[in-house]
Structure formats: C-alpha cells, structure tokens
C-alpha cells in the first residue's frame, strides 16, 4: 500500500516539516488554547523558527515587550512531534506549574502543552495537537506587512472593546432568543433542559483583529456560530455579526426591570410612598422617637448572613445597627413582581417588627397579604428609580431609589 516503510515515511515527514517551519519570512501566528477543556480561552502566539533549530516567541500573555529564544526539536512518536524542549519564558509561560499567570494555582498554572503532534504541515498552515491536552493549535504564516507587536497592540485594543459588552442576546429566524454572557475568554450561553431548568454552555474563544473566534462553534438552535465581528456603530448600542453565515446578530440585552429590582439595592423613603404607606411609617416613627431611636437608611436588596441569602427589607438603626426582614418574591413577566413577608428575619428585624411598628412599615411591600406590582422606571438601561404600583390596591404604591437616602422616615 505504501511505497516505503512507516519509519522511513515519518523520517521524511520530519525533514519536510523542518524545511517548512523556517520558511515563513515573518514567522507564524499560532492560535493557542492551553488546558484540556480550553477553559482559559485562546492566546495569540508568534513563533519564528531558524534552520539551526532555534525558536523565538512573543505572545499576548507575556506582552509585546518580551521575546525569548530557545531550542526546539522534531521527534518521532505516534507521528512527528514538535517539541519546545528547552526553557522559553514566553512559550513555557503557559505550562509553568509555578503559575506565573496566577490563574491555575501552584502545580497547575495554565496547563498548556509545549509538545505537539503535527497533524498536517504545508507552507500555508500547520495544524498541531497538544500532547497532553489534545487541544488543537493552528499556525499560519504571519503577513510580512505587519509587526508582531503592532498586531498585539491591535488585539489588546479589540479585547478592551469586547469587554464593554457582557449581556448579549441572539434571535434566530425562527424567533428563538438565546441569552449569552461575554466573558474575558469564553462565551456563556444559557440553555434550558426539558424540565425548564437553566444550565450553561461555555465556548472558549481567541481575540482576533475584528472580534473573536471560537475554539468550537457556538451551537444556537440549528445554527453554529464560528466567530464574532464587533460592529460598535450598529444599532443603538453596537452589535456582533457572526463571521459565518447565520440568520441573526448578537445585540446587548438588558436585565428585566423586575430582575434589576431583585439584584440591586434600592433605597426607600417616606416621600416615595403613597399616603397609605406614609401613614404606616409615621406610626412607626412615633415609636422610634419615643425610644430615642431613628433609622439612618433602609433599602430592599439581597442580604447574606449566617442564615443564608435572602431578599430583605434592610434597615440600619441608630441604636441597634442592622435589622433584616425576609421576603419571598416571584417574577411575573418582565416587569411584574409579587412580594410577601416570609415571617423570618434577623434578631433586630424581629425586634423592630414587634416593638417599633415595622409590621406596618413593610405592609406596603407585602405583609399579611401577598402584593403584586407592576414596575416602571425612568431608564430601563440605567434606572435611577423604580416605581412599584400595586395591581390590586389602588391606594398602595411606592418608589425605590438607586441612591442612598438618609433619615428616610423624615424625608
């Protein structure tokens, strides 16, 4: 079947690779993904090989200011193996168990390979597979028209531009929408299983001159997205266009108003309440005054303590410090919410509930009866206030604020 023995064929292949590598006039650009599940994303790595078996490297990780030279060899194993076998500060940064990047921890580091099986090699492209991780790295000759350091500058700039985006959504031609989160080195996609429970898929990527390229294409419905091109001028807030043919684009998404209410802290004040609520707060204030106490501030938000994490009415009293009263909540659509006191709280939460009329203070939020609210705001993308209008009780409504309001029972 073959003209020659396998040993002779590997030898010939090794010689052929030894000629190809030094032949690129401006070296090679490698798209390198360390670690066996590529969880650290991809790095742009420049390599220049000499016929004397020396390699010089520069990378996105160690920066444009640093190059290092060391030796390499091409050995025979289960195929030709390209091995960077003496220490190179740029190359072995990805494998060093002393963890110079401070990411993987001692003994691990970025867990990158420095020995690669050569899957294929031509003057146009060399495809490598890491020996330990199995991650595929592709090298292409780098254009002589650009300096390595200029390319890294551009990559850094693009990375900064990408970091302006975090929440994204994609809608395909069947009107299916996917929520995604763009992290530094991977894209997280929210998916739902048969029972409706949410889980995440992670797609590591490498930054390119126009955006990013995924190690494996992102699967969204029937489509696979190979990479993204950032177009900041598109639409209101910019968009990402897939590099391959796809039916939609990626646009920034914003949290629903009810999500915003729950995930951030919102301050309350007497002046934000309806007259119904104000009457209840005034009663509580009488008791506080009688005790020589006052509330410094109070807000709705998540509180974590020894009892766990709970959505709470948080208050800070002059005499006793922090008190918490816990609430159960349910999202209704994108701008509705139901709230009700769960009858649990911290020590001082309970104290003030019983002794200082705080049962009335939280009544407008939802105490004996569960209350259902419709939410409105001044700016959905960056709200300064949210108004909660009680759907069943026209006398009850209140507004909560982003900024702290001191002496809320007087203001």
């Amino acid at each position: 079947m073959f003209e020659d023995s396998s040993a002779k064929r590997i030898e010939a292949e090794i010689e052929r690779i030894k000629e190809i590598l030094p032949d690129a006039p401006n070296g090679w650009l490698m798209e390198y993904f360390p670690e066996m599940s590529q969880s650290y994303g991809g790095y742009n790595l420049f390599l220049s090989f000499s016929p004397e078996m020396e390699v010089t490297a520069m990378s996105e990780a160690t920066g444009k200011g640093k190059t290092a030279t060391s030796s390499f060899s091409i050995k025979q194993s289960a195929g030709p193996v390209l091995s960077f076998d003496t220490y190179n500060e740029v190359l072995h940064y990805f494998s060093d168990p002393d963890d110079p990047a401070g990411i993987g921890g001692p003994g691990y580091g970025l867990e990158g390979d420095f020995e690669f099986l050569v899957l294929s090699a031509t003057a146009e492209e060399v495809v490598l597979k890491g020996r330990k991780t199995g991650s595929v790295a592709v090298m292409t000759p780098f254009s002589p028209s650009m300096e390595w350091s200029d390319y890294l500058d551009d990559i850094n700039k693009k990375r900064k531009e990408l970091s302006d985006y975090y929440r994204l959504k994609y809608t395909n031609e069947d009107d299916e929408t996917f929520e995604l989160r763009l992290n530094r080195r991977y894209l997280e996609v929210y998916k739902y299983d048969d029972e409706g429970a949410r889980y995440s898929e992670y797609y590591p990527f490498i930054v390119t001159l126009t955006g990013c390229r995924f190690y494996s294409p992102v699967v969204l419905g029937n489509e696979e997205i190979e990479g993204l091109i950032l177009v900041p001028e598109m639409g209101e807030d910019g968009a990402f266009v897939p590099t391959n043919e796809a039916s939609g684009i990626f646009v920034p998404s914003y949290p629903n108003l009810n999500e915003l209410l729950i995930t951030k802290n919102w301050f309350m004040a007497r002046s934000g309440l309806s007259p119904y609520g104000q009457k209840l707060w005034d009663k509580a204030k009488e008791k506080l005054d009688a005790a020589g106490d006052k509330i410094i501030y109070c807000y709705l938000g998540m509180a974590t303590n020894i009892q766990g994490t709970n959505y709470s009415f948080n208050f800070s009293s002059q005499k006793n410090g922090t008190g918490l009263l816990y609430f159960d909540y349910d999202y209704i659509g994108t701008d509705g919410i139901s709230l009700q006191f769960s009858e649990l709280g911290s020590y001082y939460g309970k104290e003030y509930y019983v002794n200082y009329g705080f049962n009335g203070v939280i009544d407008p939020i939802g105490n004996e009866k569960k209350r259902t609210f419709t939410l409105t705001t001044d700016d959905i993308k960056n709200p300064n206030w949210i108004k909660l209008t009680d759907k069943d009780d026209s006398e009850n409504w209140f507004t909560v604020y982003r900024s702290t309001i001191y002496n809320p029972f007087e203001n």
């Binding site: 030898e11 076998d85 220490y87 072995h92 494998s95």
Partner: protein, 291 residues
C-alpha cells in the same frame, strides 16, 4: 511421531514458500546511524559524560522520560550547562576521588534528566528528584538556580543533597542494607511526613522530616545529610534530638556506616571531607567554558 514430524516439516515449507512471495527485506536500516548534530554543549556532554561514564545527560525535556502526572517545563539552557558542570565536579568527582573511576563507571545511573520546574504533589509538597531502578535520576527545579551568584545553601538543599540522596537509592537498590535498620524506628509516617518539622522529626529519631516517610528514605537521608554538612552540623543534630532521638540516630548511623564500608568500601567520613572540600571549590569555579 514420524508422521507428525513430516507434517510439521511440510507446513514449515509451505509457510516459507508463502513468505518468499512477499517483498524482499530492505537492506536499508531504519535507524539513523549518522552522528547527530552536536552544539558546543552537546560536545562537552559527550566528552565528559558519555565517553567516560556512559551517562546520557538530558538537558532538554524528554516527554518519554518525564512523569506525565506532573505539569512541568524544560530547563533553561544556561542553567542546564552550569548544572552539568556542577554535577560532574561535585557528585561524580567526589566518588571518583574516593574510589577511583571504575566505581562510578559501574554504578552510576545511565541517564540524568533535568526538568526546569518543580513537580508539585497533591499534598502541597514538591519533588526534588527521583531515582529509578539504578538507571535514571531526574533533577527538578533547575530554573530556580541563580547562576550569577551561586548560593551554597540553596545548592545544598535543592541539588547536592538530592543528588547524593538519589545516588544512595541506586546503591541500596543494587545491594540492600541490613533489615535491622527497619527495627530501630516503628513510627514511620508515610505521606504524613509533610506535617512534621525537622526539629520534631529529630526528637523522634529521624534526621529530617522526609526521613520519617519510609525506611529507605530514612537510610539515604542520613547519608546525604551527613556528607553534605560539616561535622559540627551532625553534632548539633544529635544534640537537638533529645535522649531517645539521639540513641536512635546513632544506632541508624552505625548501620549506615558499616553498610557503606562493607558493601562499597566507602569510608563515610572521608567521603564527607571530599564532598565538603569540593563544595567550596565549586563556588569558585568558572562556568563559562562551554560555548
């Protein structure tokens, strides 16, 4: 019987005939017998390790020769060069001086593998070196060597101690020591040795915390500790060990001393003298000779 023999003979002929139908065996060898390309360092290694001792000194990373369970990086070439010279002078040279060249030629490991990084264990300890079956020694953490200003204590703790330690493993793996040694201590710690400090270990009768991990380690730690430190150091160790610790250490040392003399004709005090003298000399050596 005869029928069977004929049958066998016939089948052999048929098989041979079939074999003769296949390709002729090529006269070209698949093994490359041309001399490899050697740079200055390779040539120095050839002249100083391969020719005299038949030792393959791997300064470059060899995947097949390193443990895949660890994440490792290769040694820096400058540091590897210094290490190659230091190892020859301080370790091989010491035994050559005491016993003549034939000893090392016979018993030295056939391969020394350098690794640039440490090898981290899961309990947080690091591996300094390993010796395998008398054939190979691996030295880790070469990249931490500061070749511009050699630090004698660092060299001792990380390298010299380790080299002697690993070599002594090779010695006792070749000729075993008396099992009486194993009766002196009965509280070997296994992997929990990492929880001890050297001071505590000495009161228990172990020269270092690592010695408490197993009898073989105990044995070689005594030798490598003794010969890489001054006599005053050893006296200090015994003094700090308390009554019970001291007794155990002295009993163990006696077995060690006798073993070395009887099995290998090695006078441990003479070896220590040579090693210490060469340690001083190595500090003053010029390492720029390989270029």
């Amino acid at each position: 019987m005869k029928a069977t023999k004929i049958l066998l003979a016939l089948s052999a002929c048929v098989l041979l005939a079939a074999a003769c139908d296949r390709d002729k065996i090529s006269s070209e060898s698949i093994f490359d017998t041309t001399a490899p390309e050697r740079n200055a360092f390779d040539t120095w290694l050839y002249e100083n390790y391969v020719l005299p001792y038949n030792i393959q000194f791997n300064y470059a990373y060899e995947d097949r020769e390193t443990d895949n369970t660890y994440n490792l990086v290769p040694a820096e070439i400058d540091k590897a060069q210094v290490m190659a010279q230091v190892t020859k002078y301080l370790w091989i040279g010491s035994y050559d001086e005491l016993l003549g060249e034939d000893f090392m030629k016979s018993y030295c490991p056939r391969m020394i593998q350098l690794v640039g990084s440490k090898a981290y264990n899961s309990q947080g300890s690091v591996v300094l070196g390993t010796a395998e079956g008398g054939l190979k020694i691996t030295l880790y953490n070469i990249n931490e060597l500061n070749i511009k200003s050699l630090d004698v204590n660092f060299l001792n703790d990380w390298y010299f101690h380790t080299m002697h330690h690993e070599f002594c493993h090779i010695l006792h793996q070749t000729k075993n020591y008396s099992t009486d040694f194993n009766l002196i201590s009965n509280d070997y710690q296994g992997p929990s040795w990492v929880n001890l400090e050297d001071g505590d270990a000495r009161t228990m009768g172990y020269i270092t915390a690592y010695a408490s991990s197993a009898p073989d380690e105990d044995f070689v730690e005594i030798i490598s500790g003794y010969i890489t430190h001054t006599p005053a150091w050893w006296t200090g160790v015994l003094a700090s060990a308390g009554a019970t610790g001291k007794v155990k250490l002295e009993k163990k040392f006696e077995i060690v001393e006798n073993y070395l003399q009887q099995s290998w004709d090695i006078d441990i005090d003479k070896l220590r003298e040579i090693v210490l003298r060469r340690s001083d000399e190595v500090m003053k050596m010029n390492f720029d000779t390989i270029k």
